[in-house]
Symmetry: C2
Amino acid sequence: MKPLVIGMAGCGTVGSGLLRVLEENRQWIVERTGRAVQVKHVLVRDLSKPRDLPDGASLTDDPAVLTDDPEVDVLVELMGGIEKPRELIRRAIENGKHVVTANKALLAEDGFGLFRLAEEKGVGLYYEASVAGGIPIVQTLKESLAGNRITSLVGILNGTANHILSEMTSAGLDFETALAQAQELGYAEADPTLDIDGHDTAHKLVLLIRLAYGLEYPYAEMPVQGIRGIDRMDIEFAREFGFRIKLLGQVREVDGRLEAGVFPTLVRHTYLIARVGGAYNAIRIEGNAVGPVFLHGQGAGSLPTASSVLADLMAVARATPPHNTGFQRQVPPKASILPPDDAVSAYYVRVMVPDHPGVLRDLAGAMADHGISIAQAIQKGQDKRGVPLVFMTHEAGARAISDAIEQIRQAGLLTADPVCYRVL
Amino acid sequence: MKPLVIGMAGCGTVGSGLLRVLEENRQWIVERTGRAVQVKHVLVRDLSKPRDLPDGASLTDDPAVLTDDPEVDVLVELMGGIEKPRELIRRAIENGKHVVTANKALLAEDGFGLFRLAEEKGVGLYYEASVAGGIPIVQTLKESLAGNRITSLVGILNGTANHILSEMTSAGLDFETALAQAQELGYAEADPTLDIDGHDTAHKLVLLIRLAYGLEYPYAEMPVQGIRGIDRMDIEFAREFGFRIKLLGQVREVDGRLEAGVFPTLVRHTYLIARVGGAYNAIRIEGNAVGPVFLHGQGAGSLPTASSVLADLMAVARATPPHNTGFQRQVPPKASILPPDDAVSAYYVRVMVPDHPGVLRDLAGAMADHGISIAQAIQKGQDKRGVPLVFMTHEAGARAISDAIEQIRQAGLLTADPVCYRVL
């Protein structure tokens, strides 16, 4: 059978990983699919940079070389960004080529035109590598658990944020030190905004919600709280209560409405998801037939992400009929969204107060005024900002919590900004 | 589109779970695949037993009704056993029907004729439900990680055995009590041989090796050691060293040869696989691109297993071209097998000795005679069988270990049978 010919756009971390795996596992891929995978064009910005290309492949800086070559079967888009890859992918699909992409931002913010076009042209638009690196979560939701109604999904979807939180927990580092270390190790970008502030997790969560529910939770409406400036004091207090703090993307169905968001969250240390360390990712899915399923693996990096790109290429090589969204519909209807203020959760609240009599009474009073019931409280030590008081609440509404904290703030009881995290 | 019509053979735990999920998720399945799944025939032994059948389905005790009805698209085989299901499946395939089965024993001991026939007839032979219940391990190995060379695979593949070990560990039960409890709870069969003695794990391991390596490790050659009569003293000692004892199916590639087997194994308590409790299953796969991937979920039971059967049915409904083995070859070549005696591992060895001076010297001498180096040793307490002496060894060959133990036994140093487990 004739080889599957690919045009690869971008030759950075994932692209060079893909070239390496295609080379190392060349014969294996043929045993699996009956076809070789051959790279014909590699689109790069800088033609002069030396690169190790496979036989038969050549560099170009002209996107049309990939999209317009009738020999190319599949465009592999590994560039990043939004505008340029969208145009490239659109043109490839228009020319009847399949597309494999790792571009979560493009798909999450603005992918529908592409899915519609792919359907029209009868080509595959594959994106296993866009969420959680090497973990086969796209395939699992689209096919393996497809018969289930998904009741909830919780994921650690950003390795950089998880690495920072893990180092803060195990080595007692403060946030700035852990971030600087992650940057030195290459786990964090020079500009870590997308990772640290939760936007990357939110992009991935939007895609997982589409795959699990067949519904669109618009990225712009997703509540997102990142981990920037998280205080190691809170990691320590959480640990005393038996919890780890993790940056989670979460969704669950509550009476036909989706409750979703990205938040630093306390997770009981005995849960598998609390044990996800370093740059690993993990996803826990609960389905109405399968019950809970937990997947764990490397969420980023050259070879793990290339493993997912290659799985998609092999699906194309096997001539699998495209079902790109996992649903008959290519454009999901908008989800009915539970207003974030109505979300109910247990909370961890830490405030800094002056060492005065009556302060605890006033705080507890403000919580009670908003119907919030306290499960545990500790007061411990003192630092230059005051005395830390920590509450673990029973289930409470997000609005009640923020109102109670606002009342406490207004009453002038605080010597520093309060901290408030959900508890899984 | 016309519904996918199925004939279901067997209506026990999994069969009734499938009927329930098909009913509850009826509309959902159509949204996913564009087709309804309709049960037409249900093959049972006892026609008089009252059953809750869906509209349009009827009972039969004649296998030919399923295999010969031209309206039936798929045979779903959930009977168990080997001879009868093989004949049924063969006839269905001969008549051009796809097959979905959960029958690990049939496929592991004697599946090749069926795979060859399915290839010839161009039909799908699906078996996601045959390994690890609701965990999508078949699809993951066949497709998601297909581009990887698998370097190792370790699994907890039998929920009954894991439940018993978990209860012995957490509640301090002895083996007989834990087994009786598991039987009362319905986790263990009246005859628990397949589960307890490791044969069920071995069946599943044979299938996973085919999917991961494209090679046949014959079931009859698989080294298998079960957990029958495991002593809670060993679970306690293991815990003191920081380990849990788990019944693992394992395979890894060593210089082009496969080393595989089923053994009670000590696993460091910090590993995810040590944290698999109760009737759960889990699999850890290591691939040369993806690195380690860990999957965890319910390994048996009505609805989780039905979830996997349904995934296979939906693949058929989407008209996925069959690639039943995950390889071009339908019959894998026999693996080059590392002789079990040559396998290398760290070991846990516990012997019972009389309380005499010089015994430890003689034991240590026997180990040294066979080149086995001791990492840790403890001697603790005494019971009516003697004084327990426990060694954790550095890596040693299986042959050296068994020879050393034999030497110790011959020397008349032991007051009870020795115990010897591998360490992961």
